[in-house]
């Protein structure tokens, strides 16, 4: 499969593709490694929190760490990201406290960060809807004059994340059309983890997904999504193209969903264990670790420090999650509108009055 851009093989060997090769210093490589380890820890902790009833659900990213760290680290501060519900790794690169990701899955809010401040949109659950938002946002950047000025601190681009299943949605294909028509500065980043819940990629497309882009008039690249170096290099190039005003690119990060779709899913009903075992050999973290160790770029002290850091992160998540307060009942009525209507105000008041009739009878119950 030589159409796949790869810089680091599953065996941890550095290879040099003609198009996207790049040198990385030790610091950067260690950084990628650290990122992936920490992000996997976020995922493991959140999964455990779900098992312990602290979260209602968790969408695991196990196996997709390289794709997300590569894509996330290629961003500049001024770039903007539109995620699905699984981009915990990208969120982490945007400086979002992983605790803020849990609120949605715990059921205390629909997303705990400020999209404008973090340059990272809210998780979008309706498959594909965010890709159009990404294109519109990119059109806004065009109108703001932050494309193709040559100033690296000014030129910006957008990344639209989506999955292999999402590639079948009308919205996603319309996003391709609008992006091509307006030459919008957007990178379509598809994590092809080969499953849309129980449906294999073959149900969505009979040919490699990256080829879809050509039919809309812009380039598509397939990158080894379990190779953080390749993902970084390819995304960086695509982002630069966009910032330079050369328009959209589709990046297909070829990876594998090593976990279940979410914590409520049971993949044994629809896929072979052998498949999973095969992909474990391509683990994104293991291959970078082999490379780093072989070249003496990490030592035991680094790894021990990282382990402590991960443990601390785990602790932060566990304690933070359990301490996360439930929203007050009246939160139901907050922020429906920027300018609240009298109608809704009256409904809120009715709600409060109604609850007060109970409070009189069962004060504790209502207090929480």
């Amino acid at each position: 499969m030589n159409e796949l851009v790869q810089l680091l093989t599953p065996e941890g060997e550095r290879v040099h593709p003609p198009d996207h090769d790049q040198d990385f210093d030790a610091e950067t490589l260690r950084g990628f490694y650290r990122d992936m380890v920490l992000v996997r820890r976020i995922d493991t902790e959140a999964t455990a929190l779900q098992r312990h009833g602290e979260l209602g659900l968790w969408a695991q990213l196990l196996g997709q760490e390289a794709a997300q760290i590569g894509a996330g680290r290629a961003l500049r501060a001024q770039d903007h990201v539109f995620p699905t519900y699984r981009e915990h790794g990208v969120a982490y690169t945007r400086g979002i406290d992983p605790l803020d990701l849990l609120g949605l899955f715990r059921g205390v809010d629909h997303g705990g960060w400020d999209p404008a401040q973090k340059h990272f949109g809210h998780y979008t659950i309706v498959i594909g809807a965010q890709t159009l938002h990404a294109v519109g946002y990119a059109m806004g950047m065009q109108r703001d004059g932050v494309i193709g000025t040559g100033d690296p601190d000014r030129d910006a681009a957008v990344v639209a994340h989506f999955g292999d299943g999402a590639s079948s949605q009308g919205d996603v294909n319309e996003a391709f059309i609008f992006a091509a028509s307006y030459n919008a500065p957007v990178v379509f980043f598809c994590q092809n983890n080969q499953w849309a819940i129980s449906e294999p990629i073959e149900r969505q497309s009979r040919i490699p997904l990256y080829q879809r882009a050509r039919g809309f008039g812009f380039p598509g690249v397939r990158v080894d999504g379990n190779d953080v170096l390749a993902t970084y290099a390819v995304t960086q190039a695509a982002l630069q193209r966009a910032r330079d005003g050369e328009g959209p690119t589709l990046v297909e990060a070829y990876t594998y969903r090593m976990g279940a779709h979410t914590t409520t899913d049971d993949p044994t009903r629809y896929r072979l264990n052998a498949d999973l075992e095969h992909w474990k050999l391509k683990d994104p973290i293991a291959r970078l670790e082999v490379y780093l160790r072989r070249h003496g770029l990490v030592d035991d002290a680094f790894l021990a420090d990282l382990k402590s850091e991960a443990d601390a992160l785990g602790h932060h998540l566990r304690e933070g999650c359990k301490a996360m307060p439930d929203p007050p009942p009246t939160a139901i009525f907050d922020h429906v509108y920027a300018e609240e209507t009298e109608e809704l105000r009256a409904q809120r008041e009715g709600f409060v009055a109604y609850r007060e009739t109970f409070e009189a009878h069962h004060p504790q119950e209502v207090a929480r």
């Binding site: 629909h110 659950i125 309706v126 449906e199 139901i332």
Partner: protein, 335 residues
């Protein structure tokens, strides 16, 4: 091999009732197809189509690409070719990408063709909240479909109705939006007699599920259980509530409703959907038009507030419960 096995009575959940009903419909008519996301090997995220692909094959139980307009749109074509597609929408909140196909194509094909093209399609939608889910997984979109001429809309509330109603909906030559209260799927069991040639209630009929004299409580889907519990609680305080399971939302079967309200003089409607322009609005308007002089109080509505569905830690306060139904009953009686 039928899900019924050899016994004539089973204790089943709503999920099993629907599964058995689908199975029987597929056995009875080989034009019946099941389509949707993950309906094959997985048996659907709620397992309603469990085992069907294994027994009926991939040509009749079709895993669709992830695109709701595509699913419903191809189902239209299959129906035009003489098939009877049963489409599963994975969650209520994901029906909207297919909305155009449903309201402009499915609903209008028979009218457009002056009866030449039938559209015998069932669109199954697990609906409503109460399962602690994330955004878009707890919606109640029924009023929008009921407002659309050309569609028929029904909601089942219990395992036995699930078994029969899904078969009746499939047998109907018109498109039926079939609402399934997802929080009931695995909640309660009921006795189902599958082998006898039972004559179930007609699909488009409401049913009095508890007799009473003081106030008529109207409910459907997930709220029927709550209305019955409210009636039980009210009885302890000496109030006699009549509870009607509407079952059909379009057409409405107003006969039993009007008869009841003429007797009780009071009505409360409850649903999870937003109150504003929810089913309760239409039912209140019709009752008032028809029973103006019988009414001792205005028809009162209990429903989801007029806000988006909240984060799940707040859904208990959002959803109508026994207390809110009883509160409306009291307000009706005090009027």
């Amino acid at each position: 091999m039928s899900a019924a096995g050899t016994e004539t009575t089973q204790r089943i959940t709503l999920a099993r009732g629907l599964n058995a009903g689908l199975r029987r419909a597929m056995e009875d008519d080989d034009k019946v197809l099941v389509m949707g996301e993950d309906v094959g090997k997985l048996g659907g995220v709620f397992r309603i189509t469990d085992g069907l692909q294994k027994d009926f094959g991939e040509d009749r139980v079709i895993d669709s690409p992830l695109a709701e307009a595509g699913i419903v749109g191809t189902a239209v074509g299959l129906a035009l070719r003489g098939y009877r597609p049963v489409v599963e929408i994975q969650f209520d909140g994901f029906v909207y990408p297919a909305y155009d196909q449903i309201v402009c194509q499915v609903a209008k094909m028979h009218y457009r063709s002056r009866g030449r093209s039938k559209m015998p399609m069932v669109i199954r939608i697990p609906f409503g909240g109460g399962i602690g889910a994330v955004e878009h997984h707890s919606e109640s979109p029924e009023a929008q479909f009921a407002h659309t001429p050309g569609l028929k809309v029904v909601a089942c509330s219990n395992p036995v109705d699930g078994y029969w109603m899904i078969q009746q909906a499939i047998a109907c030559d018109d498109p039926v939006i079939f609402l399934e209260p997802k929080r009931q799927y695995h909640a309660d069991k009921a006795d189902l007699d599958v082998d006898v040639d039972a004559t179930p209630d007609p699909l488009f009929a409401s049913r009095v599920v508890r007799r009473g004299d003081d106030v008529t409580v109207l409910a459907y889907g997930p709220q029927v259980k709550i209305a019955l519990a409210a009636a039980e609680a009210a009885a302890a305080e000496g109030q006699s509530l009549e509870v009607i399971d509407l079952r059909t939302l379009s057409p409405l079967d107003m006969g039993p409703v009007l008869a009841s309200v003429r007797r009780t003089g009071r009505a409360v409607v409850t649903h999870e959907a937003h109150v504003n322009l929810g089913m309760g609005a239409e039912i209140a308007a019709r009752i008032t038009e028809e029973c103006f002089y019988s009414l001792e109080a205005p028809v009162l509505r209990v429903g989801g507030y007029d806000t988006p569905y909240p984060a799940s830690r707040n859904e208990e306060e959002f959803l109508p419960d026994l207390d809110r139904v009883l509160d409306a009953v009291d307000r009706s009686l005090d009027f």
